[in-house]
Symmetry: C2
Subunit: 288 residues, 2 copies
């Protein structure tokens, strides 16, 4: 399997489904819809939807059933990007090479575009799956014990002296849990067995952390063009990162080891987990 081609095809399918979904919504205030669609279209890699789809297919499920869950996960991720970029948080002017939401639409509308996306994600989930457990898992991974809580820890950590244990906790909350739930939700939609769920949870936790370490490495090494945001911005915000705590080489080694460990958990799935395996490898090889 050529992973670049696979990711690209899967991403296009997610994009099409997203476009289709947002072509309705006639009763939304037009400017709000514009702000929401602006950030959704701003060139994300769609890692979370792709993971949900790959996990579902690894467990014998079909893509059509998992697509609404995949879209909801991307909406939640996009909501978090819009809010994290706000002046009161990371104060970023650029995201994926484009002006951030509040730079284009103003802070008030940016807050509301994020709020609208979060509510819409749960609307979509409640409409498209009868699996309340999936909805509950996603809400948990999103809120105060997950992504939102992680952003709080991240803000509190700015300028503080953190250990690598502190840093790992921040990332487990901030990105790890939503990435892990992307994998397990896909599996649950496919009706995965408990042993399959266990293995995929372990896989998700490891690639979630690897993803964040790779992000930190790219923030040091990447070019502005490849990353589409200001390089070295973590340093400017006095944020602890894996390279600043472990050094660049040890960070890369840790990310690679996590990916290898993640892939070991895929063994019972055989050929059906090829996509999941390739995504894991892609995480440490990607350039943006």
């Amino acid at each position: 399997m050529n992973i670049e081609t696979h990711l690209q095809a899967c991403k296009l399918e997610v994009d099409r489904a997203m476009e289709n979904y947002f072509s309705g919504q006639a009763d939304w205030p037009p400017r709000l819809k514009e702000a929401i669609v602006y950030s959704l279209k701003a060139g994300g890699k769609r890692i979370r939807p792709i993971l949900a789809i790959a996990a579902c297919e690894a467990c014998g499920g079909c893509r059509e059933n998992v697509m609404p869950v995949a879209l909801a996960l991307e909406m939640i991720h996009t909501f978090s990007l819009i809010h994290d970029d706000l002046p009161a948080m990371d104060n970023d002017d650029l995201r994926r090479g484009l002006p951030t939401n509040h730079k284009v639409f103003g802070e008030g509308l940016a807050v509301l575009a994020g709020d609208g996306l979060l509510a819409e994600a749960f609307y979509l989930l409640s409409q498209s799956t009868s699996n309340l457990e999936v909805l509950r898992d996603i809400a948990l991974a999103t809120g105060s014990a997950g992504m939102v809580g992680g952003q709080v820890l991240d803000l509190e950590g700015e300028g503080a002296t953190l250990t690598s244990i502190d840093l790992e906790k921040i990332h487990r909350y901030k990105t790890g849990r939503l990435i892990t739930v992307s994998v397990t939700s896909g599996a649950k939609i496919a009706g995965a067995k408990p042993s399959e769920l266990e293995a995929l949870k372990a896989y998700g936790e490891r690639i979630g952390l690897a993803f964040q370490i790779a992000d930190d490495v790219l923030n040091v090494e990447g070019s502005r063009e490849e990353m589409g945001k200001s390089i070295g911005s973590d340093q400017d915000n006095q944020k602890a990162t894996y390279p600043s705590l472990l050094g660049l080489e040890d960070s890369k080694t840790k990310a690679r080891e996590l990916v290898e460990a993640a892939i070991l958990f895929l063994k019972p799935f055989g050929a059906k987990s090829e996509a999941l395996s390739a995504i894991a490898s892609y995480i440490v090889l990607r350039k943006n």
Copy 2:
């Protein structure tokens, strides 16, 4: 039935359930939990939970079953207050006589406290009801076609010349739909018949609008002490209000007429709708 006593008893029960719910959550960042609990405890009237409970009981349901839905509605309402008070929105320093969330915890944490509350509301709903329709209704009334959309319309309306039709649309989105869904959710939890749902929806739409008109009137007439926020703040923000469009007396008349119309829809419920009827009357009689 003495409505003041009834509302007070019901409010206390909601407060106790809320306190109980938030006494757990050990894995939330402590400062985030503090910010969330601060705004939840800041003396709300708990109108939405009380409406959900009253509607459930009017349809023969029991209070225990509707309580989680009632709490989720209050969380969503509180999330909207925290975000609406932000400097980029209404820029309010006081709410219910206390400093607003961002004044105490800073803007970043206030945004995240709101986000955390919204996610938690859906977590609670997904955990406590198997009624996906209720969850879907609440998500719809919360998001871009509801409360969040209404706040966008409200922001866009500042300084603009609005008709009373524009104003009614803003309020239908911003407060009407969440109030209506509080009523219909309670009814659905009780397993209401279609004809009962129809009647309660009509009741909810009317009291939702009456509530907002009464709020506008109080913003002109109320004392700072009673309202717990700056009086005349709507005028400062150049917001169109019912008194500014219809005049004070006609606004009061309109609110009273809406309440009377709402109460007519309760007739088929007989004595079981006494609480709903009393809440409707309270809306135009309240002093804060």
